[in-house]
C-alpha cells in the first residue's frame, strides 16, 4: 500500500542566500566524527558519524579462510562485506543483502587493497564488516573511510591510510560531499578515494552528465576535501593512543601492560 508520507524531492537545492539546504557552502563538508576501537570482540574497529550517516566497521584477520577453497597459496585475500541495516533508510530495506550491497562491497575492497601487504599473508584472509545503521548519502565514501580506520586500529600493516569523499553537481553547481537529498535530486555524484602512499585515486565512480572541464574541477575539489578528512582520521587514531597512555598512567607506575 502507498506509504503515508512520500519521500519527495525539494524543488530547489540552494537557499536564497546561496547556501545549500543544510546551510553548507558549496565546498563545505558535513560534520564528521570518528572513533576507533568501538567493538571489543573485533581485531580492529571504528565508528563514523558523517552528517546523518552512522556506520560501524570491524576487522578480523589475518585468519583462516572460510570457505577454504577461496584461500590463495601465495597471498592473503581481502574480503569486504558492506551491509545496510533495515532501518537505515526511509523505506525499510529487506534484510537479505542486495546486489547494490555486494557491488559496493567489491568497490570498497578494490579501493583498500592497494594499501595492504597481502603478499605477506599467504593462505589467510582479512575480513572487513561494515554496517550502515543510519544512511544519508555518501555511505560508500564514509564506509571506505571508516574501514581504513578499522584496519589501522587492528594494527594491520598498511602502506598508508585511505580516505574517501564524493563531489558532484546539484542545481547546476559543483559541490563537495553530497547529502542524501542532494544525491537523489542532484545531477551527478562522483565518489573518490585516495591512497595516500602514492596520492592516487583508488575509487572513482560516476553517474550523471558532466563535461570534461567539470570533471577536472571536481577532481580538484575532491583533493581538498580528502585532505581535511585525512587529518580527522589521524586525530581519531591519535586519541586512541592518548587514551591508552592515560589509562596506563592512571593505573600508576606499576603498569606493565
Amino acid at each position: 500500500m502507498t506509504l503515508l508520507i512520500q519521500d519527495e524531492y525539494p524543488e530547489k537545492l540552494f537557499r536564497d542566500d546561496g547556501k545549500r539546504l543544510d546551510g553548507r557552502d558549496p565546498f563545505e563538508l558535513r560534520p564528521i566524527k570518528m572513533e576507533v576501537d568501538v567493538i571489543k570482540n573485533a581485531d580492529g574497529s571504528a565508528y563514523i558519524e558523517w552528517g546523518n550517516n552512522k556506520i560501524f566497521a570491524s576487522v578480523y584477520g589475518p585468519r583462516e579462510v572460510h570457505p577454504h577453497h577461496l584461500a590463495k597459496p601465495d597471498r592473503g585475500i581481502l574480503r569486504v562485506f558492506y551491509r545496510m541495516a533495515t532501518f537505515s533508510v526511509f523505506d525499510r530495506k529487506r534484510p537479505a543483502p542486495g546486489r547494490r550491497e555486494k557491488e559496493i562491497s567489491m568497490i570498497i575492497s578494490d579501493c583498500l587493497e592497494p594499501v595492504l601487504f597481502l603478499e605477506l599473508y599467504p593462505g589467510t584472509s582479512f575480513e572487513i564488516f561494515i554496517e550502515v545503521v543510519d544512511a544519508d548519502g555518501g555511505t560508500r565514501c564514509a564506509s571506505t573511510t571508516v574501514a581504513a580506520l578499522a584496519l589501522a586500529d587492528a594494527g594491520v600493516p598498511m602502506r598508508s591510510l585511505v580516505t574517501s569523499c564524493a563531489v558532484g553537481k546539484i542545481g547546476g553547481q559543483l559541490v563537495t560531499d553530497l547529502s542524501g537529498i542532494e544525491d537523489k535530486a542532484g545531477e551527478a555524484d562522483l565518489p573518490t578515494a585516495i591512497t595516500w602512499f602514492n596520492d592516487e585515486l583508488s575509487l572513482l565512480q560516476f553517474d550523471g552528465q558532466i563535461s570534461q572541464s567539470e570533471l577536472e574541477k571536481c577532481l580538484d575539489m575532491a583533493k581538498d576535501a580528502l585532505d581535511k578528512i585525512y587529518s580527522m582520521q589521524l586525530d581519531a587514531l591519535k586519541r586512541k593512543y592518548i587514551k591508552i597512555q592515560e589509562d596506563a598512567e592512571n593505573q600508576g607506575g606499576a603498569t606493565e601492560e
Partner: protein
C-alpha cells in the same frame, strides 16, 4: 584475562565452574545480578524509533520501521508487530555470514514471544481503518557486540525502541491512507512491559544473565518472560535439563528480578514527546 575471542579453554571452563560452585562469578557478580544496562534512544534518524542498549559489553541496536498493509481477515482491526534479529559478523568471530542462523532466529523468537501475549503492543491502536489498512511495525535488532545474554539485552532494547517510536498517523480516505500531520507514539502503542529473564545452568549451578565466557560453558539456558503479573513465555534452550522444582523457583525469582529492573530502568522516560 579471559579471552572472549575464542572458544573457551578447558582451564577457563574449570575456573568458571569452580567459582560458581562457591556461588562466585568470574566478573565478581552475585548469582542473581545483572551486568549494567546503558540505554540511548532515538539515535537513528532514518528510523521511526530506535534504542542502542548495552548490557555489560553486549550491545544491540534496535530500530523501528513501519509499513501499511491489509489486516489479517481474522483480526480486521489490529495491526501487526514483527521482530527480527541479525547477529552481525561484525560483532563476534563466533557469528557467521549468511542467512539468519538458529541463534538469530531464537533471539528474535524468544524476544517476540515474551512480548506477544503480554498485552504489551496495543495492536488495535495500529489500525487505520478496519479491514482496509493497518500498521505493520518492524522491530529489527542488530547485534553490534556479543558478550553474552543477547536475549535480555534485546528484550530491553525492543521495548525501549518501541517506547521511543513516533509513527506518522494515518487516516483513511477514498484514495487510501493519508497522513494527518500527527504522530502515534510509544505511549499510545505500548502498555505492559514484559521482560525476558535469562538464566544459565552449568552442572547444578544456575545464575542470572550469563556473560559470554559463562555462556560458552553453559549446558543450557532458561528464559522466562514476565509481565507485572504473568508469565508470558518460557524457553529452555541447550542440552541442560531442569527439575520441576528448579523451574518453579526460577519463575518466582523472574518476577522479583523483572520488577527491580523495571523500576531501575524506568523505560517510560524514553517516550518521544511530539509537541
Amino acid at each position: 584475562m579471559m579471552d572472549i575471542k575464542r572458544v573457551i579453554s578447558t582451564i577457563e571452563k574449570g575456573y568458571i565452574e569452580e567459582n560458581l560452585k562457591k556461588e562466585k562469578r568470574v566478573d565478581g557478580r552475585g548469582l542473581w545480578d545483572y551486568r549494567e544496562f546503558d540505554i540511548k534512544t532515538n539515535t537513528i534518524a532514518a528510523a521511526e524509533g530506535s534504542a542502542d542498549v548495552l548490557l555489560g559489553d553486549t550491545r544491540i541496536l534496535t530500530g523501528i520501521k513501519y509499513d501499511i498493509g491489509e489486516p489479517f481477515p481474522d483480526t480486521p482491526d489490529e495491526g501487526v508487530c514483527t521482530i527480527m534479529a541479525e547477529l552481525l559478523p561484525l560483532a563476534s568471530p563466533l557469528f557467521e555470514r549468511g542467512p539468519p542462523d538458529q541463534q538469530a532466529i531464537e533471539l528474535a523468537r524468544v524476544v517476540d514471544r515474551g512480548i506477544r501475549h503480554a498485552d504489551c503492543v496495543q495492536t488495535k491502536k495500529l489500525c487505520i481503518e478496519p479491514q482496509k489498512a493497518v500498521y505493520i511495525l518492524f522491530v529489527d535488532m542488530y547485534v553490534i557486540n556479543h558478550s553474552g545474554n543477547m536475549i535480555d539485552c534485546g528484550g530491553v532494547g525492543s521495548l525501549a525502541a518501541l517506547i521511543s517510536s513516533h509513527i506518522p498517523e494515518g487516516r483513511w480516505t477514498e484514495n487510501g491512507p493519508e497522513w494527518t500531520g500527527g504522530y502515534i507514539t510509544g505511549k499510545d502503542i505500548i502498555k505492559e512491559l514484559p521482560l525476558p529473564i535469562t538464566y544459565g545452568k552449568i552442572g547444578d549451578c544456575i545464575f542470572l544473565d550469563p556473560s559470554l565466557p559463562e555462556q560458552l560453558v553453559c549446558e543450557g539456558f532458561l528464559t522466562i518472560s514476565v509481565s507485572s503479573s504473568d508469565i508470558t513465555s518460557i524457553q529452555k534452550s541447550g542440552v541442560a535439563t531442569f527439575t520441576p522444582e528448579e523451574v518453579k523457583m526460577l519463575s518466582k525469582k523472574a518476577f522479583e528480578i523483572a520488577d527491580d529492573l523495571r523500576n531501575k530502568l524506568d523505560l517510560w522516560q524514553y517516550a518521544t514527546q511530539i509537541e
